[in-house]
Structures are given as structure tokens and as C-alpha cells.
Amino acid sequence: MKRNPILRIVAKFLIPLIILFALYVQFHGDFGPGGGFQAGVIFSAALILYALVFGLDAAEKIIPPHILRLLASAGVVLYASVGVIPLFLGANYLDYSVLGSTQIKGQHLGILLVELGVGMTVTAVMLIIFFAFAGRGRP
């Protein structure tokens, strides 16, 4: 890749912006279009771009596969267990209203945590799928 300076510089310039946009989509999901699914895919797109330009080995140094696996699992567990907490507070599954002092605050906190879980899992799973296919047939 040393012979493609333009590609490398453009990628280096774009990757932080893509990540920033992913975070915006993630956290603005409560007020407008967006949320964990979209943010996760955009976030993983930034890392996949990095892997395409700088090589798989360099990308795996940033996020090793076992971390990805942990991240994917942790996201699902976070999602499901945020739903379980209301059970202990006397409400039904996924009823976030009881998480905060008011109903709106509770729902807000619940959705934020759930979307965080979704974002983590989607990022990790998209990267796992990419690494699994791209890494196939490597020595």
C-alpha cells in the first residue's frame, strides 16, 4: 500500500469523521432518526475501510478478534439485562419507566443503554463477519 499515498491520506482523514458521524447517529437516536443499528454499521464501516487500506493484520492489531467476540456478547447481555432490571423494581420486562425518577427520564435512560448494547453488538458482529470472510484462506 506504500504506493498509494492519496488513498492512505484520504482514508486517514475520513476515518475519524466516519467514527464521529457514527457516534452522532448513536446518541442522537433518541431525538431523531438513528440508533444502535445504523451507528454500529457506520462505526464498523470506518474500521473496515481501515482494514481495506492498511491491511487485515493492522486492523486486527487495533481490535483483536477475541475482543470483538467479547464485545458482541457484552452488547446482547447489556440489552437483555437492562430489560430485566425493571423486574426487580416491580414492573414488566422492558418497562424502562421505573429506571428513572420520572417516566420520561426512565424511558430515556433505558433506551440509551439498550441502543448502546445494540451498537456494540452490531459493530462487533459486522467486523467479525468481515474478518471471517476476508481472513479466510490466509496462511
Partner: protein, 497 residues
């Protein structure tokens, strides 16, 4: 926590699945965790059935959103019964899974295997719990996707192609279901089953509703391998690891039959069904399955494939029971649903024990094994007799109720077909027993020993259940009759049409 049981049944395996996936690869920790989870689920499912039988319907609103806007878990005798079958079979399969999976699945994939197993359990239990039609689709896909992955773990390369074939067929089935749900939603504006049942009687003339109904039926029929949409099943069951075959054969198609019953009897009104040829199709498909799949089974040289074709035939009996359109027929179908889970799980477990010892389940390689492995052989004989329907076994009870239901309708052809199907079962079970016991022991089988205790105990638990439910029918028949009652099956009868 009593009122949360219906939810915990789904959420506990769901949370456990990703945790099991990241457990250390060596050692038996993933297995132990899964074992504990399945036992908790079996306990919850049995207490749920007990609660439903005593206190009536349980309704659970997810997220506190009242139905029909929110998702509702609605448990009556039917769901509770099917959920108990699924959870109990999972709990019995797990002790068996330890050695069988270590033998047949690469070491580094074991945690992922148990994770996929738990996801499959989540999906199957979810289908039984939910009262929302779209939620059924989501859980259907969770269970299907994980079962494609489970099947592809088989040792032969045919496992990959059969998983691929199942993936294509299963996805088409699920997408058909989705189209049907969409068309129904466009006319009613609701996805809640109870709400649909209230709204559909006024709309039953609409063409869109008819089209949606047809799409839903074909979609589920693909999933439950109703003849002639069964083509994915024999290969998938044959090449999957033994544990996976035991679990899927006993639960996956049963859960699909449950949705079929729900859609037919709870959601769509009776006069709507009478205006369509639904029941005739069930009877024709059931009879064709019993005859043709049984004949196919006789010609198989791989025991797992033989039993898989026999599964298609047994699903035919259940379809026939539904097709009688009477409460007796549906009762018989539900009893057979339970009993078939027992006998097929026992038979596939016994075959798995043979594979554990000699690494093959081909007719050519099993000569004389019955003398080397007497306990496994005994299990095959008893479960086989149950499959044939010999008095004193669970299989007899379901055949008895099915024949009674057929006689009530004066459906003489069906009676003949049911009895003929039993005759064909005698032939294919006889083939296995002949090879196992009446052929001289080959040299390579001389050294084969009885299967280890950890495989035999779950196997014999199921075999004893086959005998127990053949003698004491108060639980199965009682629950099945109550379930048929809850479904609101009206005795229309095929003759009165």
C-alpha cells in the same frame, strides 16, 4: 416472580447464549452452564403448565404496553404444553450432549455449539410464548438460523450442503410467512392474535385475507416439513451431529405444528376455513406422507435417514389429525405431537450411541451390534415398538385416539391408511432390528462395547417415558383435551361440509 415465568422462559436462555459463547474453550464449563439453564427452563415450563391448568390463561405485557399495541405473551394450555415438551426435551438432551458433542464436534467450536443450542431453545420457547404474529416470525428466524448453524457442524461435508438447502427452503418459508402476516396486517391493522381473532370474522370475504392465509399456511408447512414440502428434512437430520438431530427432531417441527394450530383455530374463524379447501389439503397431505414417506424409509440404508423419513410420515399422522376438523382429531394430533417427540428423541439418541461407538450408522456396519450393546438395542426395540404403535407404549395411545377420531368421521380410507402406515413402520423398524440382532457379528464390531452411562441414562429416561405414557394417559390425554378445548375447535367434521 410468579407472574414473570412466561417471560423468564425466553429471557434466561437468551442472556445465557452470548455468555456461553465467550466461556473458555477447553473444559466443560460451557456444557455445565447450558445444563443448568435447560434444567431451570424445564422447571419453569412445568410450573407454568401447572399454573395455567389451575388458574387459567396468563397474559404478560412486554414493556408495560397494553395489547393489542404492545407485544403480549399469552399462555394457555396449548402453549404451556408445547413449551413443556421443548424445555423437557432440551433438559434430557443436555446430559447426553456432553460425550456425544465431544466426539462429533471439534473442540474449539464447543462453546459456540452450546451458544447456538441455547439460541435455538430461545427461539423455540419464544414461539410458544408469544401472542404476537410478527414476534412469531422473529423467534422462528432465531431458532432457524441457529439450527442451520448447528446442522452445518456435522462431520461429513454433506452437512454443509444440507444446511445450505435447509437455509434456502427455511428462508423462503419464513418469508412467505412474513408476506402473509403483512397482508393480514394491511387489512386489520393489528398483529395481536386475540385481536386478529376478533377482527377477522368481519373481513373473511376479502381476497387479501385469503391470500395472506395461503401465504402463512405454505410458510409454516415448509417449516414443519408437511408432505410434499419436506425435502429439506431427511438430509438435515441425517448429517447433523447426533445431539442436534435428537433435539431438532423432537422439538422444531412440533413448534411449527403449534403455530399451525394457532393460526387455524385461534386466529381464523371456522366458517372461513370451511370456505377454503384447507382441511382436505391436510387430509390428503397427511395420507400421502404416511404412505410415501414410510415407503421411502424402508429403502434407506442410513439409519438416521430412515428415521428422518419416518419423522415425515409421523408428521403426516399429525396433519391427518388436524384435517379431521374435530376436537377428537386435534386432541389426537396433540397427543401424537408429545408422544412422537418422546419416541423419536429416544430412537435418535440410540442411533447416536451407536455412532459414538462405531462411528457410523449405515446398515452395512451395524451387523450384530445388538449383542454387543444390549441396552442400546433394548432402547431401540422399545422405542421402535412405540413408533409402530404396540399396546403398552405411548405410540399406541396416539394411534388409538387418531383411529377413534377417524371412525367418528367415518373416514374409512384414513383408518386404512393409518393401519397401513403402522404396517410399513413394522417393516422399517424390523430392518434395523434384524441387522442389529439377527445378523452375525462382524469382526470389526467384535470389540464394540456398550455405550457409556452418560448416554444410556437420558436414553432410558425417554424409553421409560414411552412406556409410562403408554400406561398412564391421564397427563397427556387430559392436557391435550383441555388444549383442544382452549383452541376452540368446533366439531365441523369433514362429512358435514
Amino acid at each position: 416472580m410468579g407472574n414473570h415465568i412466561s417471560l423468564l422462559l425466553v429471557v434466561i436462555p437468551l442472556i445465557a447464549a452470548p455468555i456461553v459463547a465467550v466461556l473458555p474453550r477447553g473444559g466443560r464449563l460451557p456444557w455445565l452452564t447450558t445444563l443448568i439453564i435447560t434444567f431451570i427452563c424445564a422447571f419453569l415450563a412445568s410450573s407454568q403448565l401447572w399454573m395455567v391448568l389451575n388458574d387459567g390463561v396468563i397474559s404478560y405485557e412486554l414493556g408495560g404496553w397494553a395489547p393489542p399495541w404492545g407485544i403480549e405473551y399469552r399462555i394457555d394450555a396449548v402453549n404451556a404444553f408445547v413449551a413443556l415438551i421443548v424445555a423437557a426435551i432440551a433438559a434430557i438432551t443436555l446430559p447426553y450432549a456432553l460425550l456425544s458433542a465431544e466426539k462429533e464436534i471439534p473442540q474449539h467450536q464447543i462453546p459456540l455449539f452450546y451458544s447456538a443450542f441455547l439460541l435455538c431453545l430461545t427461539g423455540l420457547l419464544g414461539i410458544t410464548q408469544t401472542g404476537d404474529l410478527f414476534n412469531v416470525f422473529v423467534f422462528l428466524e432465531i431458532s432457524s438460523l441457529s439450527s442451520y448453524a448447528l446442522i452445518s457442524l456435522g462431520r461429513n461435508r454433506q452437512a454443509l450442503t444440507s444446511a445450505y438447502q435447509y437455509l434456502i427452503m427455511g428462508t423462503i418459508g419464513a418469508t412467505f410467512f412474513l408476506i402473509g402476516v403483512g397482508l393480514i396486517y394491511s387489512q386489520t391493522g393489528t398483529l395481536n392474535m386475540q385481536d386478529l381473532a376478533k377482527l377477522l370474522p368481519q373481513l373473511s370475504q376479502l381476497k387479501t385475507v385469503h391470500t395472506g392465509f395461503a401465504f402463512i399456511m405454505i410458510g409454516i408447512a415448509l417449516k414443519l416439513a408437511m408432505y410434499p414440502l419436506h425435502l429439506w428434512l431427511p438430509n438435515a437430520y441425517t448429517y447433523a451431529p447426533s445431539v442436534v438431530t435428537v433435539f431438532l427432531a423432537a422439538t422444531a417441527t412440533k413448534v411449527a405444528i403449534y403455530i399451525m394450530l394457532r393460526v387455524l383455530f385461534t386466529i381464523f374463524p371456522d366458517d372461513f376455513l370451511l370456505a377454503t379447501p384447507t382441511y382436505d389439503i391436510f387430509i390428503l397431505s397427511g395420507m400421502a406422507a404416511i404412505i410415501f414417506a414410510s415407503i421411502y424409509a424402508i429403502y434407506q440404508s442410513n439409519i438416521k435417514k430412515l428415521l428422518a423419513y419416518s419423522s415425515v410420515a409421523q408428521i403426516g399422522y399429525i396433519a391427518l389429525g388436524i384435517g379431521f376438523a374435530s376436537s377428537k382429531g386435534v386432541t389426537a394430533a396433540l397427543i401424537h405431537l408429545f408422544n412422537h417427540a418422546l419416541m423419536k428423541a429416544a430412537l435418535f439418541m440410540a442411533v447416536g450411541a451407536i455412532i459414538y461407538r462405531i462411528g457410523s450408522c449405515n446398515m452395512k456396519n451395524i451387523d450384530g451390534l445388538g449383542k454387543q450393546m444390549p441396552w442400546t438395542f433394548g432402547a431401540i426395540v422399545i422405542a421402535g415398538l412405540s413408533l409402530i404403535g404396540v399396546p403398552g407404549t405411548a405410540g399406541f395411545i396416539s394411534k388409538w385416539y387418531l383411529v377413534t377420531a377417524a371412525l367418528e368421521q367415518q373416514a374409512w380410507i384414513s383408518v386404512v391408511v393409518i393401519l397401513f402406515g403402522s404396517l410399513l413402520a413394522v417393516i422399517y423398524i424390523g430392518k434395523i432390528i434384524e441387522a442389529l440382532y439377527f445378523k452375525p457379528v462382524t469382526d470389526s464390531n467384535q470389540s464394540a462395547q456398550e455405550a457409556p452411562l452418560l448416554l444410556l441414562v437420558p436414553l432410558w429416561v425417554l424409553v421409560c417415558a414411552n412406556i409410562y405414557f403408554g400406561l398412564d394417559t391421564s397427563l397427556t390425554v387430559g392436557v391435550a383435551e383441555k388444549a383442544a378445548d382452549v383452541l376452540g375447535v368446533v366439531d365441523i367434521g369433514i362429512m358435514n361440509k
